[in-house]
Symmetry: none
Subunit: 402 residues, 2 copies
């Protein structure tokens, strides 16, 4: 991608509309019958779309690099994922709807189990029920809301997971996890990775001590582990960089959090695909950029569940005509990264990519899958170029130079 | 492309010869019968060339970015178009055939209309006839040829447009436009954007005052607006960077100007394609790099004239055997950018690219068009890599490292 300053100077506000449909982890590896999930699935609408689109393959970050959800999405949103590295704590906090300020240091927490000898025996406190988690977080918040001049904000996630935000001046994020990462060890306190993080380390370790004291009668959730310390990254918004008015439709906290970080409005939606596509329809007049996120292709990929991954993409397929009926100026269907069911995890393989607009060279790729996209006219390109390409096809970029 | 210092250290002088044939704006979008201009045209020689060449697609600047002629050509000449941005005033001066020196500050001018209250009522002076423009520029040049130690050079363009070159020492281009950009405002003088531009600002604003005085009885062309101030960019030459002895064959001033900026000799030629190819033949022994520019593929693309765009490329096709008969070590045929007749303007779509030499992997692309080049062995790559690739195929680059 050309640099941000140039994108900023070329972007113009228009009425045209872009839909970016991210089927998370859709890229796959051939397994049974030497076919990928996309090759096996019955997806007539996606295949028809591919046959009249410009196709290609995108690298989320760089050749051979397996991304997490954060950098993979930032790329798709037009942000250099190497320049903008976002800590897990921040993503988690945004994901459960916490509003962060530029003074905040956020981290992920686990309730965990200490035995009488002070040894950690379960890093997830037996995956306590979410209801108990809520209660314990309320208890912690009541007892610990300030350490020195730093405000402490605690919010529950699911099961044993929660988020702590440390709000104060001078909190840097160059500190190690307060988590031994395995059982059979004592509580591990945070350590500074840079002398500037002294205040952060003192505050975090004081929190660890106080929290363990507060929880001491609450076995199995009688201590906490904190990790992924991260400052709010203060990204420029998509409005600032690209003059877009963007909205996100997503069901999982992480993706809402990512979208919020780049300044998208998060639209209220339900849990089902039907809800998500309905939300797109209902809000279509109100925005010029829509990010619609389908989580379950990734979840089933992570589970190694071929059949269910196929079913999800087959269900997505049914909504494609509805999306096209909205007449978006640009429709992209792709993944953020591959999650081959065979590997049960994210991978480095490029994403099948399909772009439909009025201004494309339709190519010889006839289907939406990995092999066909190799024939695509867009070739193989970095995912960070997707946003400029969508904007170009929506006629939202002026000419560079004379 | 590897950086300039590395290219400089690898380049060697040899007898081998490179011909870069730029069919301006040749890249197209499918229209009637779902075919592009190149797919419709009868171009047996170009197709035969493609079938025995290495083919691909090039991005002039970056994915999704529509370039002007300046940056698109700089890329093909091996210059990073982001690093070397050439100001509008310089391009305009080159476009009307002015010779620039490294001491020059150039800008675009409009004749405009002031009412009795000193308010600009027309930024184009009713688009006065070019003949009147020529007369007024002569008048201005007679009355204002020097301000302090700065020489003033004024040349008419079309209708209300002209160019002013300020030639003197210490003229920087960090100044704002002397143009309110809209009617209903008073004359706007230039302002410094950096203290180094003090002399430029004083000279420009004195010119504005004197010009308005000279023109006061010439309503509707009774004042001037100046914008796009730009210094001569002082590019390193192709000889310095690549050890080439390059020549340009072009009919339009803009392209001769761009070629001169990178140190090419501009060869005298006529207006027709026949003249241009004759000039190539006549001078073939004298240089080792030839840039031959065909303008009209772009012009007809800009007009949305499919049929004429087809005719021009069919005419180019007839000269291909003559070029091959010269036995260049490397022949490239490509465009600087796409100008789809459908869009009547430049676009971001990559350029079909064909490279013929002794040292290529011939690929499955059988024809010179957008779709066939997708099959090309060179894939999709940045246009700034074209120069190193041509030099490599001409055995003009040494090994990098041991």
């Amino acid at each position: 991608m050309v640099n941000e300053e140039i994108m900023k100077s070329l972007a113009i506000k228009t009425e045209s509309k872009i839909v970016l449909l991210v089927t998370d982890g859709i890229g796959d590896l051939p397994s049974e019958n030497n076919k990928t999930v996309l090759e096996k699935a019955f997806i007539p609408n996606l295949n028809k779309l591919a046959s009249k689109s410009a196709c290609g393959l995108t690298d989320p970050i760089s050749c051979g690099i397996t991304p997490g959800s954060g950098p993979a999405h930032l790329s798709l949103f037009g942000y250099d994922p190497i320049k903008y590295q976002i800590g897990r704590g921040v993503l988690e906090a945004l994901g459960i709807g916490m509003e962060l300020t530029s003074r905040d240091l956020a981290c992920r927490g686990n309730f965990a189990t200490l035995n009488k000898e002070g040894i950690i025996t379960d890093r997830r406190a037996g995956r306590i029920a979410t209801e108990l988690n809520v209660k314990l977080c309320t208890l912690l918040q009541d007892k610990i809301n300030q350490i020195g001049d730093v405000e402490i904000i605690i919010k529950p996630g699911k099961e044993h997971r929660f988020v702590v935000v440390f709000r104060g001046d001078g909190l840097e994020d160059a500190l190690s996890d307060a988590d031994p990462q395995k059982v059979g060890e004592k509580i591990k306190f945070a350590e500074p990775l840079d002398s500037k993080a002294k205040k952060s380390v003192e505050t975090v370790n004081e929190f660890m001590k106080q929290a363990t004291e507060v929880l001491k009668e609450h076995h199995p959730a009688n201590t906490v582990l904190l990790r992924g310390f991260a400052k709010h990254p203060g990204l420029p918004t998509m409005k600032e960089l690209f003059k877009l008015t963007p909205a996100a439709i997503a069901t999982y906290p992480m993706y809402k959090g990512l979208a919020k970080l780049v300044g998208m409005d998060i639209l209220e939606t339900g849990e089902s695909l039907s809800d998500e596509f309905k939300t797109l329809q209902d809000n279509f007049s109100r925005y010029d950029f829509f990010y619609l996120h389908i989580k379950k292709t990734d979840s089933y990929g992570e589970d190694g569940n071929f059949e269910q991954k196929i079913k999800v993409i087959e269900e997505v397929d049914k909504y494609i005509p509805e999306v096209l009926a909205l007449k978006p100026d640009v429709l992209v269907v792709t993944g953020d990264h591959s999650t081959p069911a065979l590997m049960k995890g994210h991978s480095w393989h490029p994403n099948p990519f399909v772009l439909f607009s009025k201004y494309i060279r339709v190519d010889e790729a006839e289907q939406f899958n990995e092999k066909e996209c190799v024939k695509g006219g867009l070739g193989r390109f970095p995912a960070v170029d997707v946003l400029p390409l969508m904007m170009a096809n929506a006629l939202k970029l002026q000419k560079f130079g004379a």
